[in-house]
C-alpha cells in the first residue's frame, strides 16, 4: 500500500461520509473539506455537484450567497462543513470569541453562515485539525450555532460527525452526544481522552480509522490536487508538490 500524508487520510475519511450526498457545499478556508468533496465527486463519476464558496471555477462556482443559502433551505444541499474556535460535547460551535460578550478577551471573525446552515443542511461535518482541550471544551463561551435544538424547532439539518487530527466522532442526535468512532493510525483512545475537554461515549473497542487505498490516493493526486489548487493554491503546493505545477 502506498504511503499517505495526514491530509490525505483526513480527505479520504471525510469523503467516505459524503457518499450519500448529491450536492456538497464547501465554505471559505476549507482546503481539506474541499478536497474531500472533490474526491467524493470524482468517485461518483462526477455526478455529484460541489459548490465551493469563493471559487471562480466552473463547476464549483456558486450564484452568490443568497442563492446558496436559499438553496440550502430548499433542501438542495446535502452536506456542508463547519469548524469552530471552540466546539463542545453538545456539538455547539463558537466562531465568535472567548470571554464576556461583547467585549470579549478573544474575538474571532464571527458566526458567518453557521447559525443558519447548521440547522438546514442534513449532514454537517465538523472539521478541526487541532485536537486539544483549548478547542474541544466542556461548554463553548458563545454559541455561534447550537448542535441540538428543542423538538419543536424546525431543524432538518445538524451535525453528523466531528473529524479531527486524532480521530472521528459521530454525533448521535437523539442523545445529543458524540461517540468515538475511530482513532487515526498512530494515535490512541487515551490520547483522545487526554486532549478532549468534553465528555463523549466510547465503545470498548475503537477501530482504527481506515487508511486510503491505492485507488483513492490515485484519485486524490491525479484529479483532486489540480482541482483544489484553484481555490487553494498554497495548500495544494504544500501537500502535493509534485502533482501541482
Amino acid at each position: 500500500m502506498a504511503s499517505y500524508t495526514s491530509e490525505e487520510l483526513l480527505i479520504a475519511t471525510i469523503a467516505d461520509m459524503l457518499q450519500p450526498a448529491r450536492h456538497i457545499a464547501v465554505g471559505v478556508l476549507s482546503p481539506i473539506p474541499g478536497s474531500a468533496a472533490l474526491l467524493a465527486r470524482a468517485r461518483s463519476g462526477n455526478t455529484k455537484k460541489v459548490s465551493i464558496i469563493g471559487s471562480m471555477e466552473e463547476p464549483y462556482r456558486t450564484d452568490g450567497g443568497v442563492d446558496l443559502f436559499d438553496c440550502a433551505a430548499q433542501g438542495r444541499i446535502d452536506a456542508f462543513f463547519l469548524s469552530g474556535g471552540q466546539i463542545d460535547g453538545q456539538a455547539n460551535i463558537n466562531l465568535t470569541g472567548i470571554g464576556d460578550y461583547p467585549r470579549q478577551d478573544v474575538r474571532w471573525s464571527g458566526a458567518f453562515g453557521s447559525a443558519y446552515l447548521y440547522f438546514l443542511v442534513p449532514r454537517v461535518i465538523l472539521f478541526r485539525e487541532e485536537h486539544s482541550r483549548r478547542v474541544f471544551v466542556p461548554k463553548v463561551d458563545f454559541i455561534s450555532a447550537p448542535g441540538t435544538s428543542a423538538p419543536n424547532v424546525y431543524r432538518p439539518g445538524g451535525p453528523h460527525a466531528l473529524v479531527t487530527g486524532l480521530c472521528v466522532f459521530l454525533f448521535e442526535r437523539a442523545r445529543g452526544r458524540f461517540r468515538l468512532a475511530s482513532v487515526h493510525p498512530g494515535h490512541s483512545v487515551e490520547e483522545v481522552r487526554d486532549e478532549t475537554g468534553f465528555d463523549f461515549d466510547c465503545p470498548d473497542q475503537v477501530p482504527t480509522t481506515r487508511t486510503p487505498d491505492d485507488a483513492t490516493l490515485g484519485l486524490v493526486r491525479e484529479q483532486v490536487a489540480p482541482a483544489i489548487a484553484s481555490p487553494y493554491p498554497a495548500f495544494a503546493r504544500r501537500v502535493w508538490p509534485q502533482a501541482v505545477a
Partner: protein
C-alpha cells in the same frame, strides 16, 4: 440618454465620498467589487460615526474604516482577512468597545436587506434559535409561525442603509452600472436609499440596450453618484480586470497588527492624493 442623469457622473472618488454623511448607515459589498478607493477617500475626508453593514461579511475595507476611526457600529456576520488572518483593527475595536458590534449570520444580513428591498418591515428566517447570536440581538424577534403549530421562527427587521457603496466594471453616461456576476449588488442598491458606485470606466453606449449586458446591469434609477476609479477595488480583485495583490494585502495585515503600524500604513497608502494610493 438625458440631461439629468449625466449629473450622476462625478469628477472624483473624493467628490463621491463627500456625499456620504457622517453617521450614515453604509452597506459594504464583500465579494468582487469591494470599493477600496472609495473607502480610502472616506478615510481622507475623516468620515465619522458610520454604521457599517457588511454584506454579509467583510475584510480589509471595514478593517481599514474601523482602524481609521470612521466607524461607530458594525453589523456583520464576520470580519476577517481570510487567508491573511483575522482582521486586526476590527478585533481591537470590538475588544476595546471602540465600536459597537452587532453580530449576525450571513443570511440574516441578506434577509434584512431583502426586507428593505421589498418594503416589508421584516423577513422570517429559519435557523438562529438557541444561538447566542440571536440572544445578543434584541432587535431580532421570535414569533410563532402563523401557518404552523408550535413552530417558533425568527423575524428579522428590515435593514435600510442610507447608502450602498460598491465598485463595478463599468457604467454608462445615463448612470446604469454593469455588475457582471455580482447579482447581489442589486439587493444592496434596492435596499439602500442611495447607491454610490465607483467603476473601472465609463462606456459610451447604453448598457440596457445591449441584450447580453442588460440582465447584469443595475438601472440608474437606483444610483445617486458614480466616479471613475480605475483599479478601484485594488488591492482586492475584480474578475476579468485584476487579481488580488497578495503582497499588498499581506503588508496591510502585518502593519495593521499594531496601532502604530496601522497609522504608518495609512500615512503611506491613504493620506496621499488620489491616484498615488496603493
Amino acid at each position: 440618454m438625458n440631461d439629468s442623469s449625466s449629473a450622476l457622473l462625478l469628477d472624483s472618488v473624493d467628490t463621491l465620498a463627500a456625499r456620504i454623511a457622517d453617521g450614515a448607515k453604509v452597506a459594504l459589498f464583500k465579494d468582487c467589487g469591494v470599493p477600496m478607493a472609495l473607502g480610502r477617500a472616506l478615510v481622507r475626508r475623516q468620515a465619522r460615526d458610520l454604521h457599517l453593514v457588511t454584506v454579509p461579511t467583510g475584510g480589509m475595507l471595514p478593517d481599514l474604516l474601523i482602524g481609521a476611526g470612521c466607524v461607530a457600529t458594525v453589523e456583520t456576520a464576520g470580519v476577517t482577512l481570510g487567508e491573511f488572518g483575522l482582521a486586526p483593527r476590527f478585533i481591537a475595536a470590538v475588544k476595546s468597545g471602540a465600536v459597537t458590534i452587532r453580530d449576525a449570520t450571513c443570511p440574516a444580513i441578506y434577509a434584512g436587506l431583502q426586507a428593505a428591498e421589498k418594503g416589508i418591515p421584516f423577513m422570517p428566517l429559519r435557523g438562529l434559535i438557541g444561538s447566542d447570536v440571536l440572544a445578543s440581538r434584541a432587535d431580532f424577534k421570535v414569533i410563532d409561525n402563523p401557518f404552523g403549530d408550535d413552530d417558533p421562527i425568527v423575524c428579522l427587521p428590515a435593514i435600510r442603509p442610507d447608502c450602498a457603496i460598491f465598485h463595478a466594471p463599468c457604467a454608462d453616461r445615463d448612470g446604469n452600472v454593469y455588475i457582471a456576476r455580482q447579482a447581489e449588488m442589486k439587493i444592496l442598491a434596492h435596499a439602500a436609499r442611495e447607491s454610490f458606485v465607483t467603476v473601472e470606466r465609463i462606456v459610451d453606449f447604453n448598457l440596457l440596450e445591449d441584450d447580453k449586458l442588460a440582465p447584469a446591469t443595475l438601472n440608474a434609477l437606483y444610483v445617486s453618484g458614480i466616479a471613475e476609479a480605475p483599479g478601484g477595488a485594488a488591492p482586492l480583485n475584480l474578475p476579468g480586470h485584476y487579481d488580488y495583490d497578495t503582497d499588498a494585502i499581506r503588508a496591510y495585515a502585518k502593519a495593521a497588527a499594531t496601532p502604530q503600524g496601522f497609522r504608518d500604513w495609512l500615512a503611506a497608502h491613504v493620506l496621499v492624493p488620489t491616484g498615488a494610493a496603493a
